[in-house]
Amino acid sequence: MTHLNQQAIVVLDNVDVKYPNGVMALTSVSLQLFRGEFVVVLGSSGAGKSTLLRTVNHLTEPTAGTVTAEGLGQLKDPEVLRSHRKQTGMIFQNHQLLQRQTVLQNVLMGRLGHFSFWRSLFPLPKSEQQLALSCLERVGLVDKALTPVNNLSGGQKQRVGIARALAQKPQLILADEPIASLDPASSHQVLSLLRDICKSDGISALLSLHQVEFAQQYSDRIIGLSQGQVQFDALTSSLSLTDLNQIYVDQSINPNLDSRVMSQT
């Protein structure tokens, strides 16, 4: 692999995730994320994409192995974890917004990590509100700042999610199937917006997708995940369509596809 800028910001080392019900969602996953990279995790449903992304900010904790944030340390440490989360934006498939709150209130949630509990009970300083507005400007929603979220369309909600992540001034953005519930036009809009912002701000991104074409069009690097294991991890330019489709083919001809699920019962 050749990376222009070889500075890793997050390192996963031999990470296993076994859910309490016995499902082995990730098996010895080791990978590095580099500064400024736009990386897509590709895999079919149940491959472990969400688990992988959630492990990177410990919304799901690994049962073995470590996640290390460069310059901070291992995420096991609660103080390290909080600092890491502060600088790691997360965009969710279902946007995870507070529906009745306004767009601005939701974006300001991205700033919570920077304030104490008591301070956060009062309106945040004007500079923070201006920051939130500027993030909304970048996703083209500044005119909706005072609109309750439940009045927005799916694509607009996803852009609020992006603005919330941007408000964190992140060095890494995790996005779990950010376009899964969007039509193709909104999907392209959201992906190119995300890529442009990340590229201009030097933010690394780790996205999960299940559409090969989108992955090929937008990513610098693709990680193929199948049954909780990394099948390939390479620069997009070096991967052919046949390579990419392999992870789906492997799945469909593999007789043990459901073995992990069945072993739990």
Binding site: N57, L59, R82, S83, H84, R85, K86, T88, G89, M90, F92, N94, H95, Q96, L97, L98, Q99, R100, Q101, Q105, M109, G110, R111, L112, G113, F117, S120, L121, R164, Q168
Partner: protein, 275 residues
């Protein structure tokens, strides 16, 4: 061929279906009969079926009602302060309940409790509070701290915690997990998660319960007056004791108007919070 077999199977299963239906009907009838017997026994025990007592009682009630008319509002100015007292008791009692419920409900909700032991402790506390009627609590507190609005408010507050805390906890348990994850993911502390992603979701339900409870507490505070907690309830009891039935009816009219006003105001405020 296929037809003949289906018919024969149907003939058999029809029999058993009808038998089951018949049995279900008989069981239902027995249940109603049992209920009827219980109601009948209760009527006998409370002397509703005692012809002699009813024959004396009904005319006495009619006579008392006639003595209540016309309502006598001459003491109305002296009732103003007790009305304010009763209102104050209901507001203070409800506020005490909210103040105690806010910390308790997070312990009593499965998704926010820090420890299972605290969860069970908090739930038990809420159940006990709900189980003791405010009238009993009022009598105990009057015995402890003496007559007045203070024991009345405390009794309302302590009893209301049971219901308000339980509803708060249930609203929290039903809240959407998604925004909670979002808050965690930006590095919010557990307290911030509660304040910024759970509270905004449950606030409308909380406001709804609180205003409903305030209406209830306003009526309950009049009853509490009867056991020495003061307010308009005490006025009613005093008027009854000195057989001033015309004042009693005037007081009941005042109460009716006040209850309607409180209900209306509470509805207004509730709507303001919910939208």
């Amino acid at each position: 061929m296929i037809d003949s077999t289906t018919v024969s199977i149907e003939g058999e299963s029809q029999e058993s279906l009808l038998r089951q239906y018949q049995r279900g009907w008989t069981q239902q009838l027995l249940r109603f009969l049992l209920l009827g017997v219980i109601v009948f026994i209760s009527f006998i025990l409370v002397e509703l079926l005692n012809v002699e007592r009813m024959a004396e009682g009904i005319p006495a009630i009619v006579k008392l009602l006639s003595e209540m008319l016309p309502p006598d509002f001459s003491r109305f100015p002296q009732w103003l302060l007790p009305i304010v007292d009763t209102l104050a008791m209901s507001v203070a009692g409800t506020s005490i309940a909210v103040g105690l419920s806010l910390p308790l409900c997070f312990l009593a909700a499965r998704n926010t409790t820090p420890h299972p032991a605290l969860f069970h402790g908090a739930r038990t506390l809420l159940n006990v509070a709900r189980a003791i009627p405010e009238l009993i609590l009022g009598m105990i507190l009057v015995a402890a701290v003496g007559f007045g609005k203070l024991p009345g408010s405390l009794a309302l507050g302590l009893h209301s915690v049971g219901m308000i805390g339980k509803f708060f906890a249930e609203a929290i348990e039903l809240s959407d997990r998604a925004p909670v994850e979002a808050a965690r993911s930006v590095g919010a502390t557990e307290l911030q998660v509660i304040a910024h992603s759970i509270l905004p979701q449950v606030f409308p339900q909380m406001a709804d319960v609180v205003f409903y409870r305030w209406e209830y507490n306003f009526r309950a505070s009049m009853v509490l007056g009867a056991v020495g907690a003061g307010g308009i309830g005490l006025e009613i009891i005093s008027a009854l004791r000195i057989l001033q039935y015309q004042q009693v009816s005037a007081l009941l009219i005042v109460v009716l108007v006040m209850v309607s006003l409180v209900d209306g105001l509470s509805n207004r405020l509730r709507q303001g919070f919910i939208k």
